[in-house]
Assembly symmetry: C2
Homo-oligomer: 347 residues x 2
């Protein structure tokens, strides 16, 4: 608002406290090895002057930034028509805050932006990066790899096991299995599956989970969706047409399930009496709002975010030890979070 008043410097504090800059610096950074009376005097000077250290100057010499980049690719932001985004970010933020780190958000808009992100990461503005890259052909992983910035991925990257990378993911496959088992446990015999966008590992994993339970699934019982309500509708219509006798549907996410629900209702099928439906994600505003409320697989999104940040920070703390040492043997490692079945009315 008003003119930015010149901030007091270390020098000023030192002068006021009648000590050297070095001493002030020591006090400000933990006060080791400075005697009490001096500490007190410095503290007071800091207080009185309203001194706040200049981060730029500090970074210049320490080479730490206490900042972490969160990179989210454009396609994701569309998926973030759900609270996924906010929750994840919140978890990350909490963890970073606890470690006095800042969150720098990098949203990318298509290919052109990748160069920008690469430059930014390579520019050494941040200590590490959290990357959400759920698409198979995404150049982002490659990019951060080259930038040489310690990175943790959100969601299992698609590259082979050989590649060393750290990631946090939900137990998509296990969750899917649980969903389908629940359906089967209900006595359903013709369980269909609406997949997610199959260029994302989460969708592939959920499909795999489905297949784990419905071994030799009738291929006509599997329809490709894209995680959207519209895609869910399309898939459901196709499914109904191909297999009018289906008695259950496992949709790759709640959004798709909501679309399926609408088609089912429109075609006069009762849920769950005629067709039982299970979703995935437990995104509240959707799952609770559908009619009937959706039985679904919950994943703890916020915890995922927190974990990602935690993993990165820990790696950063013990720099030198490469990040990719960890539970997962020698080549990258992943942390997979459990999912739980939430029973509502739809199955």
């Amino acid at each position: 608002m008003t003119e930015t008043a010149p901030r007091p410097t270390l020098e000023a504090v030192a002068a006021r406290a009648g000590v050297s800059r070095a001493t002030v610096s020591r006090v400000v950074n933990g006060g080791e090895g400075v005697r009490e009376p001096l500490v007190e005097r410095v503290r007071r000077a800091v207080e009185e002057l309203g001194y706040v250290p200049n981060q730029a100057a500090r970074s210049l010499v320490t080479k730490r930034h206490d900042a972490v980049a969160v990179v989210i690719a454009e396609p994701e932001t569309r998926v973030f028509a759900d609270p996924f985004f906010a929750l994840q970010l919140r978890g990350i933020s909490k963890e970073l805050t606890a470690h006095d780190s800042q969150l720098v958000l990098l949203l990318t808009e298509g290919r052109a932006d990748h160069a920008r992100v690469g430059r930014y990461l390579a520019g050494g503005h941040v200590d590490g990066a959290l990357v959400f890259s759920l698409h198979l052909d995404d150049p982002l992983p490659e990019l951060v790899q080259r930038a040489g910035v310690p990175t943790v991925f959100g969601g299992r990257p698609d590259w082979g096991e050989g590649n060393r990378s750290v990631y946090v993911d939900s137990d998509n496959r296990g969750g899917a299995r649980e969903a389908v088992r629940h359906l089967v446990g209900l006595g359903r015999r013709r369980v269909a599956h609406i997949t997610g966008a199959l260029d994302q590992t989460s969708a592939v994993d959920r499909l795999d989970g489905f297949r784990d339970v419905v071994v030799d699934a009738d291929p006509r019982l599997i329809a490709e969706g894209d995680f959207t309500p519209a895609g869910g509708e399309r898939a459901m219509r196709l499914l109904l047409e191909r297999c009018p006798d289906l008695d259950a549907v496992f949709a790759a996410n709640d959004l798709a399930a909501s679309g399926a629900l609408r088609v089912l209702r429109a075609q006069g099928r009762r849920v769950p009496e005629d067709v039982a439906v299970v979703g995935f994600d437990d995104m509240l505003p959707v799952a609770e709002q559908t009619d009937p409320p959706l039985t679904t697989i919950r994943q703890d999104i916020e915890e995922m975010g927190r974990l990602m940040a935690g993993l990165l920070l820990r790696a950063l703390d013990r720099r030198g030890t490469p990040l990719d040492d960890g539970p997962g043997a020698d080549g990258g490692s992943g942390v997979v979070l459990p999912t739980t079945l939430v029973r509502r009315a739809s199955a």
Copy 2:
């Protein structure tokens, strides 16, 4: 991942190009006053070495950071059980990116965090701040004010007209008027209103808009909600009890409307035949998913974000001119974005 290789410095580039550091600096920052052959040589050296300027060192001398803080208070993140958040951020990000600025996200978790945010802003890490502070008693505005950081608010701050502050807001009052007029135009005579959380100006403004149209509204036709589905349900029940003859409801947002819809259906009222319902926000995953799909007031969230960022950046560019000069005379100014009615099935 691997050890962070030491980045090349200006010095290194200069050596390689056979010029002085100053010349390299000039070329890197726009290349004014350096002759073509030299420019070319420097460019090549930069390329070959993969030089990226060190932002910390640069900030230290320029006092610019090319970064803007986005401050979002915890209560908001709850509201962000909708895509509001993501969209807003996306708009902001786009604008900032176009101006080569970074987005630093500050999520606050309750009071304790305010000090942290204050310190951060005062610390001169960013050039300006975008603050979302929708609550009447929020200390955030006060805080950024004191930090002396140029700021643009998202949503009209609650303080009086006398206060100078820049903000961007939706035309909540106008939108509300339009919603209610639509209902009245449909021939509805007993229009009720479910308010939002009245400690937010948006809720107050929407209520005011309602009153603008329904002058001398029966106070029993107004029930306080809190922008949540649960609150909407409660309010709807209360309303039905007090005024069984109501024939329309304007809910302060879509979430509340969805709750109201459920209660209406449960009590056997047909929508829109018996009771017409209009929401606010047009948050797609909710508004399109309800049964029947919700007629609502749309606001362009992304544009709001873009505008906020644009306003701030422009102010930053012409530093010296205080931010609070602008269309709104001498004491702060606000930009209010129009809203539009989206007709679906509920009214």
